[in-house]
């Protein structure tokens, strides 16, 4: 196992993490620094377009094999299963009610695109390559957790205390909710850009490289500055966070990542892919899942699920999780 400390320091002293720290500190100190909302949204679109496209281009160079199908299925299965573990932990060790625990669980089964992107930057920094299909694995892991989360929240719901019964609730699973879950903008853009990259290949890449490649790291820095601001603002306003929840926010990504590592090792993934798979399994959503939870589980408090995923787990993964999962993947990949 490579020494963790120098890895962690390398990671912490990279521009993207330092810009995140700058945003975080600025918001804690109540600076008026802010990134316009429309720009933040545009940057999120840009990052997804670029990462999707580059993944597709890589895949077109390498071609398809059975590992990819197995990995996609495993990714989807993990996204379905991780919320069950998260739910059980929350119900056993914290005082969260069914709806809150289910909503939090759904966030931890899903993934965070920015965490993944930061992970790929770290691998590049370490000189470790990874296959382009990991982007497709990320896209497929985004939504199954939402289905598990909704099931957990609605299980045994009897319509007491003025709430809707399960039958009434079911009427809410209409085309609108389905669209929200399966045709979520980020999933459409990630998969769409991935397919376009795959079709157009290295020649397509050459034509748009000045847009998708050259400014990528700079945009990522500005985006993470905003993430730092948003995360710290959330944390400052967090009134519902208990020590138990705080521990969950740090333990759960490690548990998810361990499952990812185990599955990645069993599938015989390379070091880079295994580290990214662990990172995906360990990361929590803060874009796609909150919108679905607001619609399907309105009783759950965003003050709990969004604060946990955005203000606790995201910074943890970004700073310590990435080098930790990387060194574990490095150790595992030398095990025959």
């Amino acid at each position: 196992m490579p020494d963790l400390l120098p890895l962690a320091i390398d990671n912490l002293l990279s521009p993207i993490i330092l810009f995140f720290a700058l945003g975080f500190a600025a918001a804690l100190l109540r600076s008026d620094l802010s990134v316009p909302e429309a720009l933040a949204k545009a940057m999120a679109l840009y990052l997804m377009l670029a990462i999707g496209f580059k993944g597709g281009v890589e895949l077109s160079k390498q071609g398809l094999d059975w590992t990819i199908a197995a990995l996609l299925l495993t990714g989807a299965a993990l996204s379905f299963v991780i919320p069950l573990i998260a739910f059980a932990l929350l119900r056993s060790f914290t005082r969260l009610g069914q709806a809150d625990a289910a909503a939090v669980a759904a966030h931890y089964g899903s993934i965070s695109v920015v965490t993944f992107v930061a992970g790929t930057e770290f691998l590049t920094l370490m000189g470790v390559g990874f296959e382009g299909y990991m982007v497709a694995v990320m896209a497929i892991m985004e939504t199954p957790a939402i289905v598990t989360g909704i099931w957990l929240a609605w299980r045994g719901m009897n319509g007491g205390a003025g709430n809707r019964s399960r039958a009434e609730r079911r009427a809410l699973i209409d085309r609108d909710l389905m669209r929200e879950i399966f045709l979520n903008g980020s999933v459409v853009l990630l998969i769409g850009a991935f397919v376009i990259g795959w079709i157009t290949g290295p020649r397509g890449f050459e034509t748009i490289a000045p847009f998708v490649d050259a400014p990528f790291k700079g945009v990522l820095c500005l985006f993470l500055l905003d993430m730092g601001l948003v995360a710290a603002t959330r944390l400052r306003g967090a009134t519902e966070l208990t020590p138990g929840l705080l521990m969950f926010g740090i333990a759960m990504p490690v548990i998810g990542a361990s499952l990812g590592l185990a599955a990645g090792w069993a599938l015989g993934l390379g070091m880079g892919e295994m580290a990214l798979f662990a990172l995906l399994a360990g990361s929590a959503s803060y874009i796609a899942v909150p919108a679905s939870m607001r619609l399907a589980v309105p009783e759950a408090s965003p003050g709990i699920y969004l604060t946990l995923s955005l203000a606790i787990t995201f910074p943890f993964n970004l700073t310590l999780g990435i080098p930790l999962y990387f060194s574990a993947a490095a150790a595992l990949s030398s095990v025959p």
């Binding site: 909302e37 933040a40 709430n163 609108d176 948003v230 009134t239 969004l306």
Partner: protein, 102 residues
Amino acid sequence: METHPRKRLDIIVETPLQRRVVALLEDQAVRGYTIMPCMAGMGAEGSWHRGEISDAFSKRLIIVIAREEKAREVMAAARELLRDYSAVITLSDVEVIRADHF
């Protein structure tokens, strides 16, 4: 200047619910509505503001102006739709100039 009394229905909802409210308004065959973004606020569930990474917590103000009978029908339907969600629904008196538009 001659004006005509009408009712103004204001519905403040979270952005993910906008499409559902609009579908309801179309179901109810209202003759028009306006949707506006909200900047920030504070209420039963604490304070919120635009500019979170997710759209899920920003809010929209949906305004409908109609005759009283229609406005009350829509209000009742909106109450039913939004029963479990955080929402503000109000009805107030307004005067309009073009009676045939509302």
